[in-house]
Amino acid sequence: MQSLQAKEQQVRQGSNSLLDSLGGFLDAAFQVLSTYSATIVAGVLVLMTVVLVAGSSPVFRRFGFIGFITGVNWNPVIGKEAFGALPYILGTLVTSAIAITIGVPISLGIAIFLSEMSPWAVRGPVSQLIELLAAVPSVIYGLWGLFVFRFWVRDWIETPLSTYVGSLPVFSGSPFGLDVLTAGLILAIMIIPTVSSVSREVMLAVPNSQREAAYSLGATRWEAVRIGVLNYSRSGIFGATILGLGRAVGETMAVTMVIGNAIGPAAIPTSLLKASQTLGSLIGNEFNEADPTSLHPAALIGLGLILFIFALLINVLAQLLVWKVLKVKRGSVE
């Protein structure tokens, strides 16, 4: 046990113990290691780009970039190859559009409920319940969609639609249940936790003075939410929507099981009641069986590249929007 004086002297002279210099080395090593770990993310993105571009180049060389994107046929047989991504791009867009149209208003309603309208006691349990939706694996969503939900959609939505407005092209076709509509609706359910929790955070970040300003002008509760909160958090809510869109575009497993698996021109979603295909679902379906000697894998990787570009653009946009809004709140907390 060193005396106090000896300790003091040691500190003054600067410690020259082995442990201390080892500590200094460990400090530097730690910093390097953690920096390196953080850069892995960048490395993954770069690697992804390289792999996707390299892997799909055979099919682009053969059909051209524009040709691949606008083509509608899909024939993997060697000798008669035709690869066109258009039906699947459209399928992805339509299912995502349905997901956003249905899912975002519901999520907003939930977010408003949780941030503005519910009594304090209820908020915790209800928000946990909504978060539980995110905990369900997408495979389970797919199974449930296949065995339960599609019958609900078929009986309660598609049959009436077909009976009453079936003459409209967008609702034509016989109601079967495994189609774009069901896939879109399941995606809507899946994006609810994401969109509602981000929207809620954004709404909670609105300063109370905004609500007070609205109330002082004689606003009812809903009017105060509308002009005091929703207006203010517009860009953040938009960012949350884009985040949800990103999730919807990338979702593979659940969609594969309920979209009906059409190929080629038959997959173009001309009607909501038609079976179709998305980029992700086709890749998931065909990748394992694709003949490595043919152009098929390259074509699938080409689809993957298109999906990658979509997801990248969407996620970057979402980050820019949501960060701008939440930065203020975080800044004030820190």
Partner: protein, 223 residues
């Protein structure tokens, strides 16, 4: 208006309830010790089970956690501790460091919840093709890539919750940065165990498409 919002909540809860009910009601009768431990039976005959699937899931979870969690935690510590450097001395390195950390954080957030099928393609073309066959390690690496951004982000946010005063006190006592980070990270991980474990758990959910690329050998659809 209030009613409309409550209706929205109800609309979200109904599928959840239905899923839980259907899964439990239809699945529970099938559960038995034999079912949980034996491998797949002969097609067409009764018997067999999901033993190998459970085994595969556990192995994949363990392996991917082993790869992904330490990396993610380290990355999160970097972003939280060394990232937001105050411009002391206006040296070139501090500028680079700050720019680096904000761009890494941005990229990290972009990669969160990225389409898992694309990650699957990545794992396939790099690992499976290189090794010549499907394998567990390919699946594990793919899963860890998916897990990485979430672990990083949660770790970073948990650490940022430590009040600056504790870190200042540690610095004043002369505790080395790595030790202090580890210590504060440990304290926080205890406090935010909920957060880290939660993100660990969420990463293992249905990335079935991914695994059909990576670990075909076992043909599992992990939970």
């Amino acid at each position: 208006m209030f009613g409309l919002c409550v209706a929205c909540v109800a609309l979200a809860v109904v599928p959840l309830a239905s899923i839980l009910v259907e899964v439990v009601l239809n699945g529970a009768p099938a559960l038995s010790p034999e079912f949980l431990t034996s491998g797949p039976g002969v097609i067409g005959e009764a018997g067999g089970g999901i033993g190998n699937a459970i085994q595969g899931t556990l192995i994949l979870m363990g392996l991917s956690s082993l790869i992904g969690i330490p990396t993610g935690v380290m990355a999160g510590i970097y972003l939280a501790e060394f990232g937001d450097v105050v411009f002391v001395g206006h040296s070139f390195l501090t500028h680079v460091n700050s720019f680096l950390s904000s761009s890494l954080r941005f990229l990290n957030n972009v990669l969160t919840q990225f389409p898992s099928i694309v990650v699957g393609i990545l794992a396939y073309t790099t690992i499976v093709v290189a090794l010549g066959s499907f394998s567990t390690i390919a699946g594990a690496i793919a899963l860890s890539i998916i897990m990485l951004p979430i672990v990083t982000r949660t770790t970073e946010e948990s650490i940022k919750l430590v009040p600056g005063s504790i870190r200042d006190a540690a610095a004043a006592l002369g505790i080395r940065k790595w030790r202090d980070s580890k210590r504060s990270a440990k304290h926080l991980e205890e406090r935010s165990r909920h957060g880290c474990l939660a993100c660990h758990g969420t990463d293992h959910r249905g990335d079935g498409a991914l695994d059909s690329d990576g670990s075909g050998k076992q043909r599992v659809l992990p939970m």
